[in-house]
Amino acid sequence: MPVLETKDLTYQYGIGTPFQKTAVEKVSISIRKGEFLGVIGHTGSGKSTLIQMLNGLIRPTGGQVLLDGKDIWAEPKKIRDVRFRVGMVFQYPEYQLFEETVWKDIMFGPKNMGLSENEAKERAMEAAHFTGLKEELLEKSPFELSGGEKRRAAIAGVIAMDPDVLILDEPTAGLDPRGRDVLLAQITQYHKARGNTVLLVSHSMEDIGRTADRLLVMSGGHAVMLEETKAVFSKGEELEKLGLRVPQITKIMQELYKMGCPVDPATLTVDDAFGQLLPFFKRKEELR
């Protein structure tokens, strides 16, 4: 059974005013339990609205969101439980930090769930470990941390709730290249260790190509594709029409393939490409 499912999910802004606009239109998708799903789409394609409906922050104007087969709005009073089960990390989450110490801030979510001080502390400790926050930082005020550390603390605040589904909206935006790599590696590690479902929204095709099992492509409020990452990235021309593109390394490998090289045109990572290309150079050396 899919962990999250949407049926004809629709959201319209400003109904009945001159500013009425449909942000998401009749999206029917199902998200498998335990998968790592990448979400890509041009700015204004409805990604943000869609993911905010998945955890009940926005109430859809049409259609349903099913969590484990149950409509999340069946009992509007219990929507908080849905938000604990579907964790959401917004863009630039460091701007939501507010407590006196990093500890307390990470414990905010678990405490709202009604956990005891000790349980919350345990959760916070674990979450801090997953995001690579050093222990001495936990006693500091969140406003004393560096940009990257703040980001980690904020993500830990959501992970500490131990959600079944974790949604991350551009978690690497504005980080330096190494920060990006490390954070992405930690997210994949977390995904593997916990075995829960992760949704990653990103504009970086490289990040998505490296991490996601499947890809959801949004355009103009519609879900255009939902397929294996390799299958989506093999449709380079279609993606470019939607204002997207394939990872650079995939593009290179596709060009080589067209020139007649026996390589995989759906290569997603530099490491993979390196492994495929190395034999050619070795053979060339042997011929010499």
Partner: protein
């Protein structure tokens, strides 16, 4: 949502009123408000209503939006009307103990509520058809004589521009932070007053931090573009009176003549 406030919002358009010089608009609106409060009988009041309505139509902003802007102050209108009904003088029509309703009270209530509604509509005509930038430009120009008295008029206008510019930004930011805290299970919709105030802390602290951050960023951005106050500063769009301004001034002069005629020559309907 917080973003649903229409009072004081600008609606871009191409009507005659949109093109009118903002200085002219401000002066006329102030003038019109004075007339609203001096109208003493039904004929002059009717004329003011007619003129306000005319202005609303000429602005080409949907009338629905004007009515929507009325909602938040509906309570004040009803409240003052009820107070006025019981505070009239003269022969009581109905009486319960010390509470009495007189014909004069009813008239007063009617006049007061019509005046408040007109006041809102009139100021909405101004804010709907004038962008915040135009508005502050006009205020700066109109207050310029005060700079002779060492009043920092330019700085005042700049502060107003910045404040107006930040209102939608901060609203958006509040919305975002609220969503983020709700996603972590913050409960802002239930509980007693004390609990609700407590629930606001996770929103207010990040909001303050970001407001300060934005202020610093803006100050740096202004400084790096060599902003040094109003001295010797010229304007990209210099306000000039045009044809439509003269036309509107003419229309208003006509209206004033008719108003004076009706208000002074006919007897007043309410005590002033």
């Amino acid at each position: 949502m917080i973003a649903d406030i229409t009072l004081g919002q600008f609606f871009p358009g191409h009507s005659m009123l949109h093109k009118t010089d903002p200085r002219v608009k401000i002066c006329l609106i102030i003038f019109h408000i004075v007339l609203i409060f001096t109208a003493g009988n039904f004929f002059s009041l009717g004329l003011v209503v007619l003129f306000t309505f005319l202005g609303m139509c000429v602005s080409k902003v949907p009338l629905k939006l004007y009515v929507k802007g009325l909602k938040p102050i509906l309570f004040i209108v009803v409240f003052t009307a009820v107070l006025n009904i019981f505070y009239g003088t003269g022969e009581p029509l109905v009486q319960w103990g010390w509470l009495k309703i007189t014909g004069n009270g009813i008239l007063n209530a009617l006049f007061v509520s019509v005046r408040i509604v007109l006041l809102i509509f009139t100021s909405s005509v101004l804010t709907f058809t004038t962008s915040p930038n135009q508005l502050t430009d006009a205020i700066e120009r109109l207050l310029k004589p005060l700079s002779k008295l060492h009043v920092p008029v330019h700085e005042f206008a700049m502060m107003m521009t910045i404040a107006l510019r930040f209102v939608p930004l901060l609203l958006e930011e509040t919305d975002k932070i609220m969503s983020a805290q709700k996603a972590r299970g913050a409960d802002m919709e239930s509980g007693g007053i004390l609990q609700r105030i407590k629930a606001l802390i996770p929103v207010l602290i990040p909001l303050f931090v970001s407001a300060f951050r934005r202020a610093y960023d803006l100050a740096t951005a202004m400084e790096s573009r060599c902003y040094h106050g109003g001295e010797g500063r010229t304007k990209m769009r210099v306000l000039k009176l045009g044809k439509q301004d003269v036309f509107i001034l003419g229309a208003v002069a006509l209206f004033l003549g008719a108003f004076l005629l009706l208000n002074l020559w006919l007897p007043p309907a309410i005590l002033r």
